[in-house]
Symmetry: C2
Subunit: 238 residues, 2 copies
DNA sequence: ACCTGAACACCGTTCAAGT
DNA sequence: ACCTGAACACCGTTCAAGT
């Protein structure tokens, strides 16, 4: 009977989705079950089906909410890139980095987006905005299309990790080096890479795989490559 | 009591994994449950835990089997690329395309690999082979490392699909065009792209998104970009 | 010591019974 | 007509009881 008795406010799709996002943020995606979600809202699990078609629809709605938040505080501010005066590259980077921030804030969203095959409305709007940036940057519709495919999941701010080395990273560079030496026999080239990294950059923070660096490295390589294609064949994208 | 009574052959990890792969190939990944797998092998579900630590270990073993098959019939044959006499690009394309064939043959593998965070032994061997190709191609360890990250999941032959348009594709180009016109209001740039595509290529097969084309397009753009970086700074990959 | 299957603690969703 | 909760058909895994 208190003021914030959750049973008082009427249920709505938005309230269900926000509760699900909060639940996933706090306890992980696996904690998001119809039963537990209903319990958190002080509602019979079955009542959720009034606002959500099924579990998949719930997950779709959750990512839609997260991706939709990208549009609010997006590229307008600038996200000033070091060496350019805005333009399509800066705008694209801004959009993509905003999406990345949203993804990093909601770690579970990446996993849901990978599992989904159809794009939600907010994702479609995001893609459309990116396409618009490219068109304004002088890309043909055809090359714009290929560009979207090339950028792929990086449009949403994440990339496929090769493998998770965060456990080894957390233990410090000497553990990483030990790890590398141990696998030198089986994976000589990977070991060489790892050892090279831990030698080059003596600072602790830089060793191992720096996700943020690798992400921007990839984006820049892709944008440069696309720009070259645009300039090579301005009339036809193929 | 027949000759091929599955109960006769003793269970082994390999036999369990092969049965799981066959089950996933035939009835989809969701059909792979400990209960159903045990049933298919004529064995108590709990007996599987003698050969497999848990469900995740089972899935790991399954993808390991698939990725491991890539090494058998890999780049040796040549996979001759149009305009070059082999070299690192041809070798890399060959390896990646072999992985792609394996992935296309086992549609569920992509989903499992995306969900996994740690790389299985076969995947590690694959990465190491790719790293070896790059090193032999004159890349520094550092640039080799970044190259692996840039190529990402495409090393294993797949890329993140933006959205699945196979349903619309199957209905033919006129349906695709209708689709595009309907969404022109909300997603003008995406609609323009789709309409441009269906106009350019009148043949039915070519319209919509050609996965194979987009994949090779991306690979070529990435390899060209990496080559340029290699040649720009031969001594230091950064 | 090994194997097995009943049991536990969950799922998403159906559907009939209650209001 | 609407809402609800018991019930269904599954899960992965534990664990104690049987051999």
């Amino acid at each position: 009977m208190t003021d914030d008795d959750p049973g008082r406010r009427p249920l709505s799709r938005d309230r269900v989705l926000r509760a699900a996002v909060a639940l996933a943020d706090e306890h992980g995606l696996d904690a998001v079950s119809m039963r537990r979600l209903g319990q958190g809202l002080g509602v019979d699990p079955m009542s959720l089906y009034k606002h959500v078609a099924n579990k998949d629809d719930l997950l779709d709605g959750m990512v839609d909410l997260v991706v939709g938040s990208v549009e609010a505080g997006d590229t307008a501010v600038g996200d000033a890139v070091e060496g350019d005066g805005g333009g399509w590259k800066g705008a694209l980077r801004g959009r993509v980095m905003a999406a990345r921030r949203a993804m990093l804030a909601h770690g579970w969203a990446k996993r849901v987006l990978e599992a989904r095959e159809g794009a939600s409305p907010a994702v479609m709007r995001h893609y459309d905005a990116v396409a618009g940036i490219l068109r304004a940057g002088g890309f043909t519709p055809d090359l714009t299309h290929h560009a979207l495919h090339v950028l792929g999941s990086r449009l949403l701010g994440f990339s496929q990790e090769l493998f998770d080395d965060s456990a080894a990273l957390a233990e410090g560079p000497e553990v990483l080096e030990l790890h590398a030496r141990r696998m030198a026999g089986q994976f000589p080239h990977l070991a060489e890479m790892m050892l090279g990294i831990s030698h080059d950059e003596a600072t602790v923070v830089g060793s191992g795989c720096d996700d943020q660096f690798e992400f921007t490295f990839a984006i820049d390589l892709l944008l440069d490559g696309l720009e070259r294609l645009r300039d090579a064949a301005p009339a036809d994208g193929h």
